[in-house]
Amino acid sequence: MVPGAFNYYRPDTVDDVIGLLGEWGDDARVIAGGHSLIPVMKQRLSDISHLIDLGGVEALKGIIIDGGTVTIGAMTTQHELITNDALASAAPIIREASLQIADPQVRYLGTIGGNVANGDPANDMPGLMQTLGATYHLAGPNGGRTVAARDFYEAAYFTAREDDEILTAVSFAATSGGYAYEKQKRKIGDYATAAAGVLLTMHGGSCSAASVALTNLSDTPVYCTDAVDILVGSSVDDEAVAAAVKAAVDVSDPVADTRGPVDFKKYVAGVIVKKAIESARSRA
């Protein structure tokens, strides 16, 4: 398995990237860590004649935490997400989730931008960004714009990003309270059979804010509005948890694959969501 021939570019600025995308249109593709894109190219599943490496664009790198807002450049690697201590205190769920992605070798190269822009329902970061209610920053020929992560995903590999745009950063409010990212997989380096992210804030024994989202349980990541509505205002007792779990499983829509049939996946989704809620509750 080897890719077809392509031209390679390594621009320094976002403008240059946009310029190249404009020039080559459909035949061009940006590459970040390459750990989703290169396998696709090797299988010759898509024809890419112009590859634009984002690795030289300094402006896309780095983690900024400012006044309760966290901004992460698209080219920040999963490894950097894990090792950044300031990020771990501003949003500890990021480290917990990142540690469950692939393996160290993949994480040294795989980026947050590539992971969320890819549009693969199996990626963990899109679900995580639903949980965090993140905002995606896009740059294109007409300048920048933002899209809510919860509005970004349309179907598998289809997103709100235009072909001539790139994702420059994600941002979200620093979290407080309980958090958890739970994932079942077959082995290290595997995508999720089912995964869920949960944030929970408790006030005087009652849940004041919550967030629940699913990974690889539909053709897009799923933000579970009903589950959130059940949890908020409840004491997150067994009954509320059971109802929230049921609501989350109800909006899941997995497909059968080598990880298992649909009934199994839905069942495991329930187990994982429950585990995530309970873990978040114990930390809230």
């Binding site: 398995m1 021939a5 187990v271």
Partner: protein, 806 residues
């Protein structure tokens, strides 16, 4: 005359001979990335070949248009069956007496089958060429279920032999039927079963999987048109056999063919057979006049080269009320895929499946195997086992568990009751084998004690109660397995491959300064031959192992042998090595007698020297003798010190072992956690304990993979759904549990050093241990049988079907 002789122990230790945990001499290069694998080979002008493969499992090939591909820069040739036909090479013989298409001849019979071979400047240009070849297919109905092969309206797969009612292994009753192979006494077995107190019956499926060596298959073929010599470097587990086969099918004289197996990154049976890639590379080199390389990628390897297992084993086992086994009946439906390309000795189309009476004294037994064609890849190789022994071991170890359930008996106790006893060896099995030696009870007791078996059963019972009370969702499984292997094929009187007797060989040359080179007919693929065979020799001839170079794999220099698979290297080539060493020693004794001016019989061997009996101060060391053999004119003795031995083993060897796995199972998620794996092996004399331990770890990890998730799965259309490492389970360090190894030593009575072979035991014994643990966890809830691999969803389904999910 000589200075004081160091003590025996000191001199023995200096040899690093038998029983020493000598570090592997191969590792210096492997751990530094300095190995020399076939893909490392680069030659001037070398071209690269790659296959156009079928996307369909069954289709007629209407046309192949190579024009666009040929027009691409860097593409030199595109071979199709039409190009090979004039050479008679569009089909090739398989090791199982069938034939196989080299390139699609009118139709394709499995997904990823080779359709055309593109030869280009490099692998990129070749891949471009592959993408540019246009093949027009007409899809045909697909057969993936061997049980539907003979039903009305089943598609006929092999039109080439549809009318042949006689195959390589006897009558064929249907175009999709390959052979029926029987062993044992059918009538007597039926009679025993009919009258038995208790009969347990079950279908045991051992799913299709794949050896998946780290390095896939490949070769470089180089036809030197000036001197008429063909050299092929490749991933060959049996280089000499490949040379003979290449000569027979190509018509090139055998002395003009040189086959070289360089370093090989694992074989596990996958590299025994002959593949279309080898044939096409050779033809392409002849056509282009330059070397041609072909290297599979991972998916090619998983989807097209030899698979393993895929046996449906219907068993019936009978016993008295108190658990004495009286009879065993097994009917196996063997899914061989599109061509019968199993790598078994000729007389054994289902390998040594008739070792399926296992470790038990079963007086009456019968086995029948039906080979069936389906639209799947060919193969059926011994994946780290001796010819279907792992299927046989899995079958009997499941049947024992199922019988124990039926009898309401503890499965460990049932085994003890039926083990062949120590004093019954050599033991004649009902299916025709003579087990050479064994002591099953001793190892089994040791194993049960080591894991604290009785306490484990108590803990398990308590867990079941806690589960029923709703206090836990975790079950505890105790997986027992006692296996008996049959390895070291084999005696020439009943073992051959394509007519080549399965002896093996060793040739030794001692150099003047007392170091040596030994060459063998086998080939290491990671087993550490260069380390262990030097140790055998060190003990035999009294030269330090580190002074002995081992060489294998070059047919121009190594003596003829049948290669490395089926744990045969130590039993057969290891025996040849010892025997050649003894020839050296016999000659050395004559030389020493001359030098010491005594009669041969006045000398005795002492570790590394010959000593005059009764005069310990008078001796000649092997080093001195070596030099003398080159510089003394000894009457009646030829100069030099060399020997060669071709060893035809009188019998197989029968390694055995007791394996126990303790496993925690989550009934809601289907996930498992392995708490303990205890593996006691008896491989006879132990040559290098550290290498044995390494082999056991590796084999157990493969067994874990197979039992818990590894499979080659097909959908209804014959598409492989597990064709990459994302879905084909290969455990990483994280999934690999800690292993506790142990041993007993029961030497083989007929092997020169008593060694039996160990490399495959852990795969054979490990799969039932892991699988039995899963089954055992659910025993209290009524489970008798479920199918491997026990991945999360299958375990969940089991729990679901037993009503454990509310």
């Amino acid at each position: 005359m000589n200075e004081a002789t160091p003590p025996k122990e000191e001199r023995t230790a200096a040899l690093s001979g038998l029983g020493t945990s000598r570090k592997r001499v191969e590792d210096a290069r492997f751990t530094q990335g300095k190995g020399n694998y076939v893909d490392d080979l680069k030659m001037p002008g070398m071209l690269f070949g790659d296959f156009v493969r079928s996307p369909y499992a069954h289709a007629r090939v209407k046309s192949i248009d190579t024009e666009k591909a040929m027009a691409l820069p860097g593409v030199h040739a595109v071979l199709t069956a039409a190009d090979l036909e004039p050479l008679g090479l569009h089909w090739m013989p398989t090791l199982a007496g069938d034939k196989q298409m080299v390139l699609a001849d009118g139709k394709v019979l499995f997904q990823a089958q080779e359709v055309a071979f593109v030869v280009a400047d490099d692998r990129y240009a070749a891949a471009d060429g592959v993408a540019a070849v246009k093949v027009e297919y007409e899809e045909l109905p697909v057969l993936v279920d061997p049980f539907k092969a003979e039903s009305d309206g089943a598609p006929v797969l092999r039109e080439d032999i549809a009318d042949q009612t006689e195959g390589a292994h006897g009558p064929r009753r249907h175009p999709n039927h390959i052979f029926t192979w029987e062993s044992g006494d059918r009538e007597a077995t039926e009679a025993v079963l009919a009258e038995a107190d208790v009969v347990a019956e079950e279908m045991i499926y051992y799913h299709r999987t794949h050896p998946c060596p780290l390095e896939p298959c490949g070769c470089v073929a180089s036809m030197d048109k000036v001197n008429g010599k063909l050299t092929v470097w490749g991933t060959f587990q049996a280089p000499h056999a490949v040379r003979t086969v290449a000569s027979l099918i190509s018509g090139i004289a055998e002395h003009n063919i040189r086959i070289i197996s360089p370093d090989i990154g694992g074989g596990f049976g996958n590299k025994v057979g002959v593949y279309p890639g080898y044939v096409c590379s050779i033809v392409a080199s002849i056509v282009t006049g330059v070397p041609v390389k072909w290297i599979e990628d991972r998916s090619d390897n998983l989807m097209a080269t030899a698979f393993a297992r895929d046996y449906w084993m219907k068993g019936r086992i009978s016993a008295t009320k108190d658990g004495k086994i009286t009879g065993l009946h097994c009917h196996t439906t063997a899914d061989h895929g599109a061509f019968d390309a199993c790598a078994d000795p000729t007389k054994f189309p289902a390998g040594f499946m008739n070792i399926c009476t296992g470790s038990y004294d079963i007086p009456t037994a019968y086995l029948a195997v039906d080979g069936i064609y389906t639209n799947k890849a060919p193969g059926g190789v011994a994946y780290r086992c001796s010819f279907r022994v792992t299927e046989a071991a899995y079958f009997i170890e499941r049947m024992i568990e199922i019988l124990a359930i039926k009898l309401g008996m503890d499965a460990a106790e049932l085994r003890v009751k039926n083990f062949i006893k120590k004093d019954q060896f050599p033991y004649q099995s009902a299916l025709g084998w003579e087990y050479d030696s064994g002591d099953y009870h001793t190892g089994w007791d040791k194993a049960l004690k080591a894991v604290g078996y009785e306490d484990l059963r108590k803990e398990q019972a308590a867990r079941v109660e806690a589960f029923k009370r709703g206090e836990t969702r975790m079950l505890l499984g105790i997986g027992l397995s006692h296996f008996t292997e049959i390895v070291g094929a084999g005696p020439v009187k009943n073992c051959d491959i394509l007519g080549l007797g399965m002896f093996d060989s060793c040739e030794i040359r001692i150099h003047p300064t007392g170091s040596a080179i030994a060459r063998l007919g086998t080939i290491s693929q990671g087993q550490g031959h260069a380390t262990t065979f030097a140790q055998i020799l060190a003990s035999e001839i009294g030269l330090p192992a580190e002074d002995i170079t081992l060489e294998e794999g070059d047919t121009d220099t190594a003596p003829y042998g049948l290669g490395t698979y089926g744990s045969r290297s130590t039993p057969v080539a290891g025996a040849a090595t010892a025997m050649a060493g003894r020839k050296i020693r016999a000659k050395a004794q004559m030389i020493a007698a001359y030098l010491l001016e005594v009669h041969d019989n006045d000398l005795e061997w002492d570790v590394d020297r010959f000593v005059v009996k009764g005069s310990p101060e008078r001796f000649k060391t092997m080093k001195e003798i070596a030099f003398a053999s080159y510089n003394q004119a000894i009457p009646g003795v030829e100069p030099g010190l060399e020997a060669v031995s071709y060893y035809d083993p009188p019998n197989m060897t029968y390694p055995f072992g007791s394996y126990i796995c303790v496993m925690e199972i989550n009934v809601d998620t289907g996930t498992t956690e392995i708490r303990q794996v205890y593996a006691l092996d008896d491989c006879g004399t132990r040559i290098n304990p550290m290498i044995i331990e390494g082999q056991v770890h590796g084999g157990l990890t493969e067994a874990l993979a197979i039992a818990m998730g590894q499979e080659i799965a097909y959908d209804e259309q014959g598409n492989v759904t597990t064709g990459t490492l994302m879905d084909f389970f290969v455990p990483t360090a994280v999934e690999t549990p800690n292993y506790q190894t142990d041993y007993t030593v029961t030497p083989s009575p007929h092997h020169p050093i008593g060694a039996k072979g160990v490399g495959e035991s852990p795969n054979v014994g490990g799969v039932p241990a892991f699988s039995n643990a899963v089954h055992d966890a659910f025993r209290a809830f009524g489970l008798t049988q479920s199918n491997m691999p026990h991945d999360h969803w299958r375990i969940w389904k089991t729990a679901q079907s037993l009503g454990l999910h509310d």
